[in-house]
Amino acid sequence: MTKVTMTVNGKTVSGDVEGRTLLASFLRDDQGLTGTHIGCDTSQCGACVVHVDGVAVKSCTMLAAEADGATVDTIEGQANADGSLNVIQQAFQDHHGLQCGFCTPGMVMSAAALLKENPKPSEQEIREYLEGNICRCTGYHNIVKAIMAASGQDVTAIAAE
């Protein structure tokens, strides 16, 4: 077992992990942060996306030990300080960018990373960026629309509802 310490959503946490323990498992099983989901075993679906030192990472692709000393942000830490939804989360609700909710944490974390590097992405840029996040419910239409809206773009011209 190896002792790891990291800052998760602003709090310092530590735990003893096996060498093979994935960051996703550490967050879910050791820290009880079950908002980070595991939807596949080949690092394809993106339900487990978190930010490690500000960079979007599939947490099923990273060992917990590799995140020792890092700053990790998960979906649980995304809301505003008063508990209200942040701009991206609010846009997802306003534009019905989620249905079953399982891929949603990864989508929101990927969207946040995208908008950090590209504050006004085009529809095509959003679609290409989300290539590593699979959603089976929405057909992506409203996810793309929500991210455009979250970036301050006018989405009224995109099909209704």
């Binding site: 989360q89 949603t104 290409e128 089976r136 929405t138």
Partner: protein, 787 residues
């Protein structure tokens, strides 16, 4: 003006907040005290005889608490098929036992033959590797034709691989044959409806727990219908008394059919929990999901369409082989028959339909209902052959369809496939589609594509489906072994807020938002005070769950009936409070008034009085304000639609891109247009996925080649366009109180033929004499067809 609340309002979803903040609670998020973990040993061969299983080494591994094999479940029941189909000769279908764990033989790759329970999931995983199974590999039965002609059987005890040979409508067989023999023109098409994996993003998971002091079991599981799962486990598999088993499906991360069914893993964790007296949890990894979730479609069909010289349809005749896989999943026998054959008249006045379906066992994963379930297969066959006929006859594909549409003055319309359509207007849908899709502008868009070296094609489709599953008396005659009503309880609490317990179970459909809209509208109160309770058999009266686009049409109708009972009782209480006859009491905006006076009491005051019955006529009215209704529909509902697709084909590579996708649907009345549009968009993505990307591929040894997201092509954001969705042309359902039809599956039903029709049109426009390409229409297949 759109409404802010109630029926018809595009209310944002209240459940979103927990999903967006990572505080949803899916089965795998739950950890019970003293929880242990199950991992399954699964067959790596498609077909084999189990000679021996030595678990002794595994049992000595660190942390291992128990190891189970098929022997442990030899005496318990099998997981049954829910629908009895009789063959054309009257013989009942073959129903081999589907055990909890494979016993005697393994029948598909992934078939579980043992399970290890350990303190940690890693320890269980390690111990599974230590199980020594001597499995003698047998020749795999993969191809359906070979399955029907050989002497190698998936289930030796039934001596055939044919489950049934079904005819519909058998009495029309000869007349259909004659119509086709004598017709002016017959168009024939052979096609494959490709096997798909539903791929809910949340893998299946189950936690069994047992309370020795009372003998009560609890199963947390990823289910679309917890009551059905309880019924199957209690009555057929483990024999646990129904009142000693609680099934809880918490938040469920998508289903698309795959989580309707009871699976052996659920029985295993319950049995193991009792033996160990500790909770036992199992969570599928994605590979297990690919190998063991019920798959969808997998039909091979020959369809013939007979037409007269004016293009009027005279008969449809189809010959289908339907793969049911290695075992009968719960709805697997209904899907290729009564959810498929009964829709084979489409939206058309065709007088004769004959459908033959042979269901075939193979050494592949079980196949069952997947989004649309039988109706996509019917629609694909019908709408592809119509398109081919239009081309052969030199007719416009839209005009050919219009010529044969059932017209608005023909309802109720008895279709040639045995259903009674209650309402619809297919010409209005087609008109709207032509407008929304800007059909008039297509020629210019095609010219632009051609300028860029691309071929552009336009495809159209008209579909009808049967939803609101289902009238129990009718399906009982057709072989269903269950009733398909639903139930709801409306509980008005003393302080005036409401709990509504529903038998439907949302796994993405937004029930927590939409059902309160209905109740709020009826009572004239704020939907925010209404809470939906679902997914827990201990809290809700009963329910058949969510599938077949039934939640609103069936369970929503039960909600209406229960709310009507609440209103009736509340009027009696209000009448007493206001010293007036209940017949003179009216309800508007949450206030009960005596007609023609200014006397009134609020809904909240009536609720309080019901629970604090002072000065209350106890001899006439019971205290409390809670009502339950069971609703059994009088008929199916019949959503219909007109779809259009424009594709570009790159003639250099064969790559197809969907440029425009338009869905115009008739769902009857709409409760929440935002949710309805979202349902259609998701269905379109799955239908486009089937048409262009997705395929489930077994090799000749029964190895699943597409068992991961590296190999199975899920539609991604950059594979799809924005969608144009319209549901303005609704004709209300005539037989349920809300006039609703159901919208969950339409997109997946209407889109595959639309896309393929567009691809064929593109290739034809490039001078290629291509009349059909099987799905998925991959670049390789397109390129090959063009050579």
């Amino acid at each position: 003006m759109p409404k802010d609340t109630g029926i018809g309002a595009a209310t944002v979803r209240r459940e979103d907040v927990r999903f967006l903040t990572g505080t949803g609670e899916y089965t795998d998020d739950i950890t019970l005290a003293k929880q242990t973990y199950a991992v399954f040993a699964r067959s790596t061969v498609a077909h084999g005889t189990i000679k021996s299983i030595d678990t002794s080494a595994a049992e000595l591994m660190p942390g291992v608490l128990a190891v189970f094999t098929g022997e442990d479940f030899a005496e318990v029941g099998g997981n049954p098929a829910g629908w009895l189909i009789n063959s054309r000769d009257g013989e009942p279908m073959k129903e081999p036992k589907r055990p909890v764990l494979a016993h005697g033989k393994v029948r598909h790759v992934g078939d579980a033959y043992a399970a290890v329970i350990a303190e940690t999931v890693q320890q269980a995983r390690d111990a599974v590797e230590a199980i020594e199974a001597d499995i003698e590999e047998l020749d795999a039965i993969v191809d359906m034709n070979a399955a029907l002609s050989g002497s190698n059987f998936v289930h030796d005890e039934i001596g055939t691989n044919q489950c049934f040979d079904w005819g519909w409508i058998e009495d029309n067989r000869e007349a259909t044959d004659n119509a086709i023999k004598n017709a002016h023109h017959v168009t024939t098409l052979e096609l494959v409806n490709n096997r798909l994996v539903p791929n809910a993003m949340e893998p299946r998971a189950s936690i069994g727990s047992y309370k020795a002091s009372t003998g009560e079991y609890t199963l947390h599981t990823t289910s679309q219908n917890p009551h059905l799962t309880r019924l199957l486990i209690s009555a057929f598999v483990l024999g646990i008394p129904e009142n000693m088993l609680t099934v809880i499906a918490p938040d469920v991360g998508g289903g698309f059919g795959s989580k309707i069914y009871h699976y052996g893993e659920e029985a295993l964790v319950l049995a193991a929990a009792k033996r160990l007296n500790r909770p036992v949890k199992w969570t599928a990894d994605r590979t297990e999901s690919f190998l063991t979730d019920a798959h969808g479609r997998d039909h091979v069909t020959k369809i013939e369409l007979a037409l007269d010289k004016d293009g009027k349809f005279l008969a449809f005749r189809t010959d289908t082989k339907a793969n049911v896989g290695a075992y009968l999943s719960n709805f697997s026998t209904a899907t290729p028959t009564f959810l498929h054959g009964t829709l084979m008249a489409g939206n058309y006045t065709v007088p004769l339909v004959y459908v033959n379906v042979k269901a075939v066992f193979t050494n592949t994963a079980p196949v069952d209902a997947y989004r649309g379930a039988g109706r996509p297969e019917a629609t694909y066959s019908i709408e592809r052959v119509i398109d081919k006929a239009a081309r052969e006859l030199g007719m416009d594909p839209i005009e050919l369809r219009r010529k044969n549409f059932v017209k608005p003055d023909q309802y109720p319309f008895a279709s040639a496939a045995g259903l009674e359509y209650d309402a619809g207007n297919y010409d209005a849908l087609m008109d709207k589609m032509e407008e929304v899709a800007d059909v008039a502008g297509f020629a210019a868009r095609r010219a632009e594509s051609e300028k860029n070296g691309k071929l552009r094609g336009f495809g159209v489709n008209a579909y009808i489906e049967a939803c609101g599953i289902a009238p129990s008396n009718l399906v009982g005659v057709l072989g269903s072994r269950v009733g398909l009503y639903d139930a709801a309880t409306v509980r008005v609490n003393a302080t005036g807020n409401l709990s509504v317990m529903v038998g439907a179970h949302s796994h993405g459909q937004g029930h927590e938002t939409a059902f309160p809209q209905v109740v709020a509208e009826m009572l004239g109160i704020d939907p925010a005070v209404i809470d939906i309770v679902h997914g827990d058999t201990s809290k809700i009266p009963f329910g058949m769950g969510t599938y077949g686009s039934r939640s609103l049409a069936v369970c929503g109708s039960a909600v209406v009936r229960a709310t009507e009972k609440i209103i009736n009782k509340a009027k009696k209480i209000a009448g007493h409070m206001l010293e007036a006859s209940e017949h003179d009491i009216t309800l508007a905006d949450g206030v009960f008034s005596v007609a023609g006076t200014d006397k009134s009491v609020t809904f909240g005051e009536v609720a309080l009085k019901a629970y604090i019955p002072h000065e209350y006529p106890l001899e006439d009215i019971e205290p409390g304000l809670e009502e339950t209704a069971f609703y059994d529909p009088a008929n199916f509902t019949y959503p219909s639609g007109a779809y259009a697709c424009e594709v570009e084909v790159d003639p250099e590579t064969g790559k197809v891109t969907v440029e425009r996708m338009t869905a115009v649907d008739d769902f009857g009345n709409v409760i929440n247009p935002m949710i309805v549009t979202g349902q259609v968009q998701g269905g379109l993505a799955q239908g486009i996925g089937q048409a262009l990307l997705e395929n489930t591929s077994y090799d000749e040894n029964g190895q699943l080649l597409s068992a991961s997201y590296m190999d199975y092509t899920m539609p991604r954001a950059d594979d799809l366009p924005m969608f144009a969705v319209d549901h303005s042309q609704g004709t209300p359902c005539t037989h349920n109180p809300l006039g609703v039809k159901g919208c969950g599956e339409a997109g997946a039903i209407g889109s595959p033929p639309t896309v393929v029709n567009a691809v064929i049109d593109a290739l034809q426009s490039g001078g290629k004499d291509v009349t059909h390409i099987d799905m998925p229409v991959s670049p390789a297949r397109v390129w090959e067809a063009m050579q």
